[in-house]
């Protein structure tokens, strides 16, 4: 009897083959995280909407219906989301605007986190004058007012999606750098870092294999929040006229544009607003789940 129970217990403990790789383990654990799966579903729906949608709904987002009767059309068969103040199809603009907003959000949040993590790792690990130099530079960057510089940058580099991403990255990495540096300061005193030095591991290896993975949980949360704020940041830059330029659509400039018509056509605000809301929420759910899934100590 006891042996049987023991055997059953052993079976329960045995791990399936897909748990033997790191990616496999994380996916397996992610699947069991309900909130994360909700986030994944929201994000997948959003991606399908943005990338598959235009293949089904073949309308030009910049084509205008001539004349006054084309403006502010209510939703109909031809225009499921109606038309905007220029008589353009809102659904088509949501598709193409979403592509731009999502890529700006994702690319800029991920790259600013990576840059911030790198700066923080180097500053925290080496300490001394390297730390001082990097952190004073970080402080200086934080104290620069973004918008005036943005206007200057825009006149030098020109306007467009790449420029926006660069601007968001250049002004977005500092908080992650500080976050990571603080964590590294405490992590590098751990004995496993000393053990790594004792086996002769290089500084790069210690930072990449021992310190970085232990800051990852916090970084993932910070990135997912960063995606949301990058999308919103793009919106405000576009509003100032230095972002995504009309007639190219982004959720941000659609939202800003719709402000003037909040009484005449409130739905113009609701569509991009809801899209941004759902995307940001989806990334946050997913980020929470991912943080839990990569922490081997948590039981999922």
């Amino acid at each position: 009897m006891a042996e049987k129970a023991l055997e059953a217990k052993k079976k329960g403990q045995q791990k399936t083959s897909d748990e033997y790789s790191y990616i496999g383990m994380v996916t397996h654990r992610l699947k069991r995280h309900k909130l994360a799966m909700a986030g994944v579903i929201m994000l997948v729906l959003m991606l399908v909407f943005v990338f598959v949608g235009p293949l089904v709904w073949r309308l030009d987002p910049n084509e205008q219906i001539e004349g006054l009767e084309g403006m502010f059309l209510t939703p109909s068969r031809e225009h499921p989301m109606g038309t905007d103040d220029y008589g353009r199809d809102v659904l088509a603009r949501m598709f193409y605007g979403g592509r731009i907003s999502l890529s700006i959000g994702f690319i800029s949040a991920v790259s600013s986190t990576l840059i911030g993590a790198f700066v923080g790792l180097v500053a925290g690990y080496y300490g001394g004058w390297i730390d001082n130099l990097l952190m004073r530079f970080t402080d200086a960057m934080l104290s620069i007012p973004t918008f005036p510089l943005l206007i200057a940058l825009a006149s030098v580099m020109g306007k467009g999606v790449t420029q926006i991403i660069m601007v968001i990255v250049v002004f977005g990495w500092m908080s992650d750098a500080r976050l990571v540096r603080g964590m590294v300061l405490s992590l590098k005193e751990q004995e496993y870092v000393e053990a790594a030095r004792a086996i002769g591991a290089s500084a790069g290896r210690i930072m990449w294999r021992h310190l970085f993975p232990n800051t990852l949980a916090v970084l993932i949360v910070s990135t997912t929040i960063g995606i949301g704020s990058a999308i919103i940041y793009e919106a405000s830059i576009s509003f100032l006229g230095f972002g995504v330029q009309a007639p190219v659509a982004s959720w941000g400039n659609m939202l800003q544009n719709a402000q003037q018509f909040i009484w005449t056509a409130p739905r113009l605000i609701v569509y991009p607003g809801m899209a941004i809301f759902l995307t940001v929420l989806g990334f946050n759910f997913f980020g929470d789940g991912l943080r839990d899934a990569i922490d081997p100590k948590l039981k999922l």
């Binding site: 053990a195 790594a196 004792a198 002769g200 294999r209």
Partner: protein, 324 residues
């Protein structure tokens, strides 16, 4: 037993204390202050002393995990004191360390197989498959089931984790292993398992141990020779039995009198030391032990006692012995 594997002379490790507006060095913690000892090839040197006596710092400075403030470290006759990290890299294969804390010494985000394999990766030894095979063999050697290689450190008990730490230290086939209180965080029943494992492996792999501990019974069981540290100084060194049977330094005598004897009929005089160990920032002048020494004399305050060889291989630094 004739050749010395490592020897340190006048080894010093001072940690600066910074203060003031310009963070100038206002004082130093003299964790290790002019320490001499050596270890013969294949033996176990026990390093004992109470908390704060500098034994852990001595062990880490010996491996150059901490850069010494002064003195000389010789490994196989070569002076490695001023070796750069790059010069140390090939030597790291020969000298390894096992840590005290079974929780802090393993990266919580790394599967144990990777932890044990990392030394091989760092030194680029063997093919991928050979490395993996070496990990399997090593896990069996230290008494871990190889199929647990994908598990994470938190899934193991304290004793198992110490085995993981031992496997990581041994996979490079080192000559010298510094055991930094490897059992003081473990249950008594597990302690004996690890001690037996360490002794068995020493025989099999021809290892040299620096065994840092404060448990005198275990030190007596493990060591060939013993060095006693007090406040950054080695006060007495002798062969195991010699030290335990004829302790000469008052501090060693006090330490040994605290070891319980499993016989209720034995009546012993316990020497109870007054007060705490003084601060290593401002150690007492002369003999560091004089503030707590029952035999303190005026000379102890003025002069640092010289090292005296009281018997062959038995060195003591105490004025009680220099005076005669």
């Amino acid at each position: 037993m004739a050749t010395k594997l490592v020897e340190v002379q006048k080894l010093k490790k001072w940690f600066p204390i910074k203060g003031g507006i310009f963070s100038t060095v206002v004082a130093s913690v003299k964790a290790v202050d002019e320490v001499d000892f050596f270890i013969y090839q294949g033996e176990t040197l026990g390093l004992v002393g109470e908390s704060g006596s500098g034994k852990t710092t001595a062990g880490r400075t010996l491996l150059k995990l901490l850069q010494p403030t002064g003195g000389k470290i010789q490994y196989k006759g070569a002076d490695i004191t001023d070796y750069s990290p790059t010069q140390m890299r090939p030597l790291r294969r020969n000298m390894q360390i096992m840590f005290q804390d079974p929780y802090g010494s393993l990266n919580p985000r790394m599967p144990v197989g990777d932890i044990i394999q990392e030394p091989l990766d760092v030194h680029v030894i063997g093919t991928r498959k050979e490395r993996h095979d070496a990990v399997t063999t090593m896990m069996e050697t230290v008494g871990l089931r190889p199929e647990y290689e994908k598990r994470y450190p938190h899934e193991f008990s304290g004793g198992q984790r110490q085995r993981i730490g031992l496997a990581r230290a041994l996979i490079l086939n080192p000559e010298l292993l510094v055991l930094d209180e490897p059992i003081s965080a473990l249950d008594v029943s597990i302690q004996s398992q690890i001690i037996n494992l360490l002794q068995e492996l020493q025989q099999r792999l021809n290892l040299t141990y620096l065994f840092i501990a404060h448990d005198l019974a275990v030190v007596r069981h493990m060591s060939d020779r013993v060095a006693v540290m007090y406040l950054g100084k080695v006060v007495e060194t002798a062969e195991n039995d010699e030290l335990f049977d004829h302790p000469l330094h008052p501090y060693t005598q006090a330490l040994l009198s605290a070891v319980p004897v499993p016989d209720p009929d034995v009546k012993r005089e316990r020497i109870i030391l007054q007060g705490d160990i003084p601060s290593p920032v401002n150690p007492p002048s002369g003999c560091h032990f004089r503030t707590r020494c029952p035999y303190a004399m005026p000379i102890c305050k003025e002069q640092e006692p010289a090292v005296v060889e009281a018997a062959p291989g038995h060195t003591v630094s105490c004025h009680l012995l220099t005076k005669k």
